[in-house]
Structure formats: C-alpha cells, structure tokens
Subunit: 523 residues, 2 copies
C-alpha cells in the first residue's frame, strides 16, 4: 500500500466506524447500555495478608527455581538457556532474579485496536472488559432442546450476539466450534465470519504456525493496515493454556512467541484444577498456576522486551466424588481473588472467566456464573473470558445463556457508575424531602421529574411485572424470554460496515489459503 | 416457678438442645454444612469517601432537625418532648446532640437466646446471619403451579425448612401469611407452630399490644423462663417499618417501645423506594432512611438506655415505567453498601435482605437474589432477612426458591472460611508439586488423599454431572430438583425436642387466649 492508499483506507475505516455506531443506535430489539470501557471503582477483595502474598510468591519462585517448567519447544528452550536458565532436556529452571527482571519489562497496561478504532480496548488499570464464550464443541438452545455438535451457522449467530451487545468488549475464541467445517480451514471460515460480523478485538488460537499467521494476516487485512502498522501496536491477542502440571506444549509456545515477536497480546492461563492437575489445596494450586504463567511471561519478554502480557487464572476445584470439574465454587472465588493479589504484586493485567458447571440456563447456571463474575469484579480482573454464553463447564455454548449473561453484565456495568452514590446537594435532596413532607410521595415532584428517565438501570430481560400481569403475558420464565430476545436480535442484526474492497481482499485471502490446503492436519 | 422448677426446666431444655442436635445429625435428605455463626472476613465495599459519609450524616441530621419525623403515638411523642425534642402535633424534631448521645447508648453488638441455647445468636461485629422469608401473603410451588393465598399448612412447611437448614439462623416473620386463620388468632397459631417446629430465635410483629404481649409470653413459656429470665437478656425481636416518608405509625411504635422496655431486639427498617416514598436519587433515599431509622433508635434508648437496636435498610428503586418496585438492582446494591458505611459510622448492627422481583424461581430470581445477598456481604450486614424463599417483591413465598437460596447461603458460608486461603507450607504444597512432577496428576498422591474428603464445598442442589449423565438422570432443571429436595426434607422432618410439659403449657396459653377472643380486629 502506498501512503495515499493507507490514508484512503483509514478514511474508509473511520467512516465505517461512525456508520457502525449509527447502525447500532438503530437497533431496537432491546434497549441496552452504550459501549463503554467500564472502570471498577471498588477496592479489590484481598483474602491474603501481606505475609500470605510473600509466601505465595516464595512458593511460585521455588517451583520455578527448584522444580522447573517443561518447555516442549526447542527454540523456546534455546532462548531461555541463553538467558541463563538451567536447562535439562525440556525442563527449564529459572532464578527469581531473572524472573522478576523480565516480568518487570511487561507493561502494566496496553491497548488493543481492532478494525474499528472506536472499539479500542485498554487492558489494565481498573478497566474490566467482557468477552463471549469461547471454544465449546457443542451447542444447546431451547428450540433444539438438546446438546448438538456446533456448526458454522450457530457460530455465526453467536458472533452476531457478540457484536450486538455493547457489554461484550472483545470477540474471544470461536463461540462454538463449527464441527461441520474441516479443521484445516476452520480458522479461515470462522475468522472471515468474525471479522465481517464483528468489529471488535479478535483472538487467534495458538494451534500451529499456519493458523496463527493466517489469523494475523486476516486481522491486518480487515484493519486496512500495512505490515508496519500491524506491528506498531497490539491489534489482537492469543491465549495459551499450560498443560498442567508444569508444562507448556509446542503449538502453544509457537503461537505465544509469534504474538510476542509482533507485539500482539499474550495471555497465559494455566488450567489448574485443584485435586487433579494441581494440589488439592487452593494456595498450592494458585502457586503452581503462577509459576506456569510467569514462566511464559519470561519467555515473551526475552523474545521481545515489553511484549504485552496478561496473567490468567482458571484455578478451580473438582468434585472429589466424581472428578468432574466444578466452577463458580467458593474455592474458585477465593483462588481468583488470590491470583488478583498476585497479579498486582507482579504488575501484570489479569484475566479470569464467567463460568458454571450447569448444563442448562437455569438457577444453578446463574448462581455459578454470578459467583465467577463477582470473583472477577472482586479480584481486579481486567479481561473476563467466557462472560456470556457458557454452559457445562465450557462444553456447551447457548444463545439463551448468552442473552441472560448480557443482562447481568449490563447490571454490573451500571453498578460501577459513580453517579449512583453521588452525594451532591442535589442528590441528597434534603429540600425535596422537606417539600414532599410526611404526607406526600415523590412520583410527581420536580426533583423526580427531572431525573426519572435516567435515574435507574432499566433491564432488557428482567420481568418486573407483578405475578398477575406476568401470568397474563404468558407466564414466561427467564430462559424462554432470553430465547425470544435472541431471535429478535438475529432478525434485525446488521453487520458493522466494512469497505467492500477490504471484504473482497479478505475473501480472496481465504480462497487462496483454502486452495493451498489450509493448515496441515493429521486427517 | 420455684427455683427448683426453673432448674428442672433448664435441665430439660439443655437435654432437648442436645437431643435436637442429634436429631439433626440423623437427617439424610441432604448433606449440609453444620450450624455456625459465620464471620465475614472481608473488608466491606465502601463507595462513599469520608466526605461522602460526612455529607450523608449531615443530610440525615438536617432531616431530623429541620423537617422532623411524625410519631403517631402520644406516649412516644411525650417521651421525646421530655428529652428536649421540639414537638408540633405529631411532628418531632430532634437536635443532633441528642441523636448522637442516644445512638451512642445502643450496644454495638448483643446476643439473642432462643429456647435452645445452642442457637444463641451474636448480632454485630463481623457476624452475618440469615433468616427465612417473612410475610408474603401468597404461596407458589411447582406442584400447585400458580399463586395461591397462604395457608397454615404451607406456613408450617416453610417453618420446617427454616428449622431444617443450618444456614438459616433465625425464624423471621411468618414465612407465608396463613390467610386461612383469622387475624385475631393468627399470631397464636403461627407462634405455636414456630415455637414447636423450630428452636431458633423468633420475631414478633408489632401489630398491636395484644399480639406483641402474646408472642413475648409464648417465647417465655417455650424457653421455660421466668419473667425475670426473659427480661434479663434478648430472647426475640421485632422489626418495624416506618411509613415513609418520615412517619412511624401507632402499632409499630407501640411494639417498638414494648420490646425496648423489656430489652428485646429492636430492628427498624424504613422501606424507602427511591422515586416513590423517597427521593429518586439514592443518596437522598438513604439519607431519609437513616433519619427515619435513627429517630426510632433515639426513642428506644430513651425508653431503655442500652436497648439492643439494629438499623435496617430496604432502600431500592422503582421501575420508572410502571412504578413497580425493583429488587437486587445496581442501585439497591450501592444503597445497601452506603447504609453499611453509615451503620458503622453510628456504631449500630445492620440488617438488609435477600430479595428479588421475579415471580418464579428462574434465572432472574437468582441474579436478583445474588445481587442482594452480595450487597449484604459487601455492606457488613449482620442480619439478612428474607434470605430464603422470597419471590415477587415479597408477595410470594416458595419452597423451591427456599431450597435454592439455601444452596447459595451454604456456598456463601463456605466462602467465608479462611481455610480456603491458608498459605501454610502444607497448603502451598511445593513438595507435593515436586513429587507429582510434570507427568503425573494429583488424584492419587498422599497430599490429596489426606484432604480430599473435606477440601472443597459439596453442594446439595447443584448438579455437576456432565450433560449426558444429567440427561440420563431425567434432565431435571434446578427448580424441579429443589422441589424434590423440599419433599424429601418434609418426609423426614422431625421437630426439635420440646419438654411435653412446656408444649402443654404453650397449648393451654393458646387455648386460653383464643377463648378470650385473641387480638381485637375490625372484622
């Protein structure tokens, strides 16, 4: 691209951004809170004392120094050896001086800029952002009424929800795995859908170099960016999970280093289920999770000093009767809070999740999800994965659950608005209390008239009618109401604007890569 | 009673207490966490700055000094006049010096001792206690499938749940109004049921002197107490609601003063719906609520210095489209937290609630209830009313909701246990991490074997099976599972032991009072 072409592309993108905004305003299926990067004003909940933080740090350092982490990637091992780590085969032990020096290079906060710059995210500080459910292989909705393997159409519909809701800030992994698309080209089709149906920050799975490079290239094309522009600032991110205990595997490390090298977002989230892949005690599980995560952050900083990293937590417990993973438990909440304390200790942004073990969007699904979302709020989490649509421990994506979760997220966003606890004279309203007196009511007074339209959060899914009115309206339970909202959103959905030339370029890239066979698979 | 008889009674009561405990252990419908007075270890969430607290205090004082509160009870007005308040008809204005001096006389914490002293409650400090739903006129369960007027049988069944669940610490008002019992004798029948089906702290409605005196006498009889013993320490409590704005009515004040005079628990909870009975701004609604509550506390202290008082909050907002009350909203949460800050400022224990606007025990019911329960946790609340069984803004009691709420309460109680975030060497488990290494798992290791039975909270209602197993077991949603648990509990319920002589004395008192016509009514 010439400079003139780049400027043209930027103009088109900006126009698209504004048009997108107008299109959103035109939505009428529901009234929702506008797009904002919410700031969490509350002091985090901190179960650990200063001594507890020091002890957890000491345990993480001992794991890194004395036990070591397996890095199943020769280049990664090489980089770590050269930095002074003690290497034995794939086992890498790193001293705390190196660890702390490298971790200190990671920024405390950074931005990620998607194709619509109005959707730029700030990762860090007290900002808390929400993303859609990612990676369930299965789908469930009230119409089908049972668990089925995911399809591209279902995936696209969940992407439409991801775009539609202003409380969803980033498009995580595939909201459901489209099992009807061959794995060699799945990333091409889903990324095409994701980049055309949404204009929010997207993610690349670290599942082999071809996939990572394809996604980076598609994000670059969708943004109308030169390679230099793409590399200049984070545009997207990957999330890697360690293979707990104590192991980072080859494709994850490959994707991790590719993202670090090009300055894109690097999120590392050990999946440390206490009692299975980690000690049965929560402090032990968190210590192990920290060691695994910090080891990856050290590698990223060695690859590119200042690479934008996020420390994730997925520490929960299993059901010790069955071995099944549990989510949103009391132990999960405290582990998340402990990890939050440690993320602040290390000066890294943090990721946690909105999760549950329930199989359908019922009461249990909501109390487990509420507990995980409050753990995110209480821990100072910056990025909340899976914040909408997750069921069955992440094995099912559900549009009804997605819509219900977005109602909760809207409420949390409102909860963070300082206007609620304004104590100005106008808010304290002593004169109005005097004016109304002991025999009146406040419905009609000027103070109320001036404020009633915006004074309180208005839910789009909660039904506040009394029983009789609710019954007369069909006695519809929450999940069924969510299904109706889902269908209404689909019916009126309009994709965010995209320059036709960019869309063509994206389609051509997909076609070319499909012709080349996509990413290699064993089957 | 002679001294010997009193000692006999005490022995019997103690034996009953122990037997009750054994009987509880024999329960098998569910596994639940044992009775404990939970201590909330977390720092409260405090939206207000120090200046905000000062401004809210100033506003409450201005309401008391400049606007005044209506006291619709001549004796109360007389007491307040003699203490130096400025009286004009029923309007009473009180200076902040008087208010603060009287409020300072109220204890920061106190105990309440029911007929089973093992159930003694500590109200204050960082203890958080939960009570059953109180006062809905209607009942709903899955079997009936619609809203019906409450009956004595339904009320008794909800009292059985109140007794059965160890996470329910006190028996509040009637868990449903038994509309099939005439109001003149309703309190006699329900209190007989409550005192025989439960052994927990009970409540008296302040709805006329006869009812209050009858309940006090029945609590005294049930406890095997002399009048002196009853008066010596709090055994029960009342809760009064101001008639907002700015008014305390006659029967409430009568019951309030009777409780204060005999040193029983005095809880005052203004029902200040922002935009209806209070300003549309939350700070204004809280300021008015504080003024109404503090005015009642002043009266209680003038009646009996040191009377045990609790400041309650029921500040929420209305749906400004319909005027319907809303519960568990973002505004409700912040108002509760603000009230918590002010309760600590005044040195008074605090009451809030577990509430929702939903009509059935579905997703909305749980997110609204979760929000109100977390507001209780975050605000430093000591007594949580309506913590189990509440629907439709308090117009419906539901056993399924009761059981679901108790699952949540059990999780909150576990959440408060410091064992979760233990950072001892044994909990950090670095040696175990070394032992298991990168290729093993933690299921089998000794560290896990030694701890797995008690390491994690075990839910009694959550279903952690995977989808296929859940489907094979009938695909039962949470509310339906709760119904089954409810029926199992009823089937095996055994009332706590009571000395037959005491039971006879209670029955005789009820019979005598019924013969006398009970409490006067207009119909």
């Amino acid at each position: 691209m010439t400079v003139a072409e780049q400027q043209d592309a930027k103009k088109r993108r900006r126009a698209g951004g504004r048009a997108g905004h107008d299109a959103r305003r035109g939505h009428s299926a529901i009234e929702q809170k506008p797009w904002v990067l919410p700031r969490n004003p509350d002091r985090p909940t901190e179960p650990l004392s200063a001594e507890g933080v020091a002890r957890l740090h000491e345990a993480a350092m001992r794991i890194l120094e004395e036990i070591g982490i397996e890095f199943l990637h020769p280049e990664a091992v090489d980089i770590l050896r050269k930095a002074g780590c003690i290497v034995s085969g794939t086992n890498v032990r790193m001293g705390r001086d190196l660890v702390m020096a490298q971790v200190a290079l990671a920024p405390r906060s950074f931005t990620m800029t998607p194709r619509n710059p109005d959707r730029t995210l700030l990762i860090g500080e007290n900002v808390i952002l929400f993303g859609n459910v990612s990676s369930p292989p299965n789908y469930w909705d009230l119409e089908i009424g049972r668990k089925v393997a995911g399809t591209r159409e279902q995936c696209a519909n969940l992407l439409r929800l991801t775009q539609y809701f202003d409380c969803i800030h980033f498009a995580g992994g595939y909201p459901v795995e489209p099992v009807d698309v061959h794995p060699s080209v799945r990333h091409l089709d889903v990324l095409f859908d994701k980049l055309t149906l949404t204009d929010k920050v997207v993610h690349a799975y670290s599942l082999g170099p071809e996939r990572v490079e394809d996604v980076m290239e598609m994000v670059r094309i969708a943004g109308g960016l030169s390679h230099e522009e793409f590399d200049a600032t984070p545009r997207m991110y990957t999330n890697i999970n360690s293979t707990s205990p104590l192991k980072h595997d080859e494709p994850m490390l490959d994707g991790w280093m590719r993202h670090a090298r090009r300055g894109q977002g690097c999120i590392v989230t050990p999946f440390t289920l206490a009692g299975a892949m980690a000690p049965v005690t929560m402090a032990g599980a968190v210590a192990q999770s920290l060691a695994e995560a910090l080891a990856a952050v050290v590698l990223a900083q060695l690859v590119r000093p200042g690479a934008p990293c996020v420390i994730g937590t997925f520490t929960s417990n299993v059901d010790m009767k069955s071995g099944a993973p549990a989510f949103g438990t009391p132990e999960y909440m405290r582990a998340t809070q402990m990890t939050g304390q440690m993320a602040r200790f290390y000066g890294l942004p943090m990721r946690s999740s909105g999760v549950c073990a329930a199989n359908v969007p019922d009461g249990q699904a909501i109390w487990e999800t509420e507990h995980s979302l409050w753990a995110a709020m209480q821990s100072g989490t910056n990025m909340v994965y899976h914040a909408a649509g997750w069921l069955e421990g992440g094995l099912i994506a559900s549009p009804e659950k997605f819509v219900m979760d977005c109602e909760i997220l809207n409420q949390l966003i409102r909860y963070m608005e300082p206007a609620i606890w304004d104590t100005s004279d106008e808010a304290l309203a002593v004169d109005t209390i005097a004016e109304v007196g002991p025999h009146g009511h406040f419905f009609g007074c000027q103070h109320t008239q001036d404020r009633y339209a915006t004074a309180f959060y208005q839910p789009f899914l909660s039904d506040w009618k009394n029983y009789e009115a609710w019954e007369a309206a069909g006695a519809v339970w929450t999940a069924e109401r969510a299904h109706v909202v889902y269908k209404r959103i689909l019916a009126e959905f309009q994709p965010p604007p995209m320059d036709p030339a960019i869309r063509d370029e994206l389609a051509a890239f997909v076609a070319k890569r499909k012709e080349e066979g996509g990413a290699p698979t064993d089957f």
